[in-house]
Amino acid sequence: MTNQEFIESFRKYQKKGNWWCDFHPLAKLVFCLSLGFMSMIVFKWQVGLGIFLLASVIAVFTPVTKKYFTTLGIMFLLGCVLTVGVRIYVHLGDPGPVAFYLFGKPVPIAAIISCLDLIFMIEGFLGIFMMFFLTTEMRDLCYCLEQIGLSSTATFMVLSTFACIGSIKEKLNTVRESQRARGIETEGNLVVKVKSVLPVLFPVIIGSMTGIEDKTLAMSARAFATPGKHSALRKIEPARPLEKVIAGGALVCCIAGIVLFKMWL
């Protein structure tokens, strides 16, 4: 991209060229929050599974498909092993219809269903939130939040925190590289990797936190304290009617679902 093109690009709305990535951040947030909370509050495997499937279908149509499924896959396995193990152990030998026998003791159907409820509640919740964070730029979300009245100090803090996490990651990588240069093993499985950065983890985190004081100064030199609304260089397209409808629909769905499942079922 030439400089001229780059500068011109700020005149237009910022776009990624993918319908879900370009979905208005606030509408997307409402959509995902609604579904996520519905999954959590209703706590039924049918609902959780439904939301999880919806998130997965969306994921297929975005550029983050692979990342989404690997992360969720790992969580699914971890979730299964943990929740299934614990739940079945707890309910082992409970009365009620029996699904199968484990070590000679009956495993009731209710225990299996309760496992499924927990697993899919988590999967639905995590799925929809990961979908949100993988496809939304924090700065765009913050911009939209600022538009509806969140203070610029608050958005700056959010953005700095995320930037801070990024810088910690980067510094740890640097450390790993310098350790490799000194002949310390850093490649290999997770244990080796963790071992190689563990001794410097705390200093790096503390170091990143003290950097915040410098940031305060840097911000003060940029007239950050100026009262009144800040303007923005990046422009985000206002939410389109369809996006508002989808977000509103999800919210209604969430409330209806909670009422339905909690009150009558």
Binding site: R139, A223, A232
Partner: protein
């Protein structure tokens, strides 16, 4: 001419330190002039800059005695938001000045303007203009955290210039720059002066300071050793006695004066030195009666 910054018997100590970083300093700076602050390491240059901008004691805490007056108003009455626009401050460490939340240099330079609520069109125009002036236009698309020291310093400079402050305080703007980059920065500074801005620079590169600054403030061990018109200050023998580095051309002039063969004036750059030397040699040749 009007006074824009005034120090009245200012002493300041950072918190948890017994020794004052700046001791009983009094001076007045006039609007539209370019001032250089020189002195050895830890002599208090940065502290003087911090005091002018109100960061000492507002940000660093510590104890301040005396009065700092900016544009006729005591520092204590200035609002942080107002002073940050009135006085642009480029810090000594360029990396500490990157906001960390912008993904391109273009947006980084624009950040101050966003904070002021400048309209997008106007903002873009100003960023492009300043990027050209500071010669970072080829970096606009780069990530601000992926810059070299010199590039970062220029971007930091540009980010502050974007605010278009009347007074600009610059703490070692060229510490990371090569000789060419240093000359560029001083070119920009002379253009700022031409626009009527008051510029205050703390620097170690005395040779260039001497050439561009109207007046000099010399710091030594927290005290103001001398202040005044550049040539007069540099000729002061107290400077060398206190370990303050002075330009080579001035050293030459001083040495000649000491040897009883004065140059006639104190030069501040090579061109002047050559001319003075030319005259000086002419005078001596005539005196000796040769040729």
């Amino acid at each position: 001419m009007s006074v824009c910054i005034e120090f009245e018997n200012v002493s300041y100590a950072y918190p948890l330190t017994k020794k004052a970083a700046v001791k009983q300093v009094s001076f007045q700076l006039e609007t539209g002039k370019c001032y250089g602050i020189i002195g050895p390491n830890a002599s208090g240059k940065t502290t003087i800059c911090n005091l002018m901008r109100g960061l000492c004691p507002n940000f660093y805490n510590g104890t301040l005695k005396g009065k700092v007056i900016v544009c006729g108003k005591p520092m204590t009455e200035w609002d942080e938001a107002e002073i940050s626009v009135r006085i642009g401050y480029v810090f000594q460490d360029p990396f500490a000045q990157v906001s960390g939340i912008k993904e391109t240099v273009f947006e980084e330079i624009g950040m101050g303007l966003e904070n002021l609520g400048v309209e997008q069109e106007e903002m873009m125009r100003r960023i492009v203009e300043i990027a050209k002036e500071v010669q970072v236009d080829h970096l606009l698309q780069k990530h601000p955290l992926a810059l070299s020291g010199g590039q970062c310093q220029r971007v930091a400079f540009a980010s502050v210039l974007a605010l278009n402050s009347d007074i600009i305080v610059i703490d070692e703007p060229t510490s990371q720059l090569d000789p060419e980059g240093t000359e560029d920065v001083f070119e920009i500074i002379s253009r700022l002066k031409a626009k009527g801005k008051t510029v205050i620079i703390a620097e170690h590169k005395v040779d260039l300071l001497a050439e561009y600054c109207d007046e000099m403030l010399v710091m030594a061990d927290g005290r103001l050793l001398a202040k005044g018109e550049t040539r007069a200050v540099l000729a002061d023998p107290a400077l060398e006695e206190n370990g303050v580095q002075i330009p080579q051309v001035v050293q030459l002039a001083n040495a000649l004066a000491k040897a009883g063969k004065p140059l006639g004036a104190i030069p501040v750059n090579e061109k002047e030195t050559m001319e003075l030397l030319e005259q000086w040699r002419g005078g001596r040749d005539d005196g000796a009666g040769s040729k």
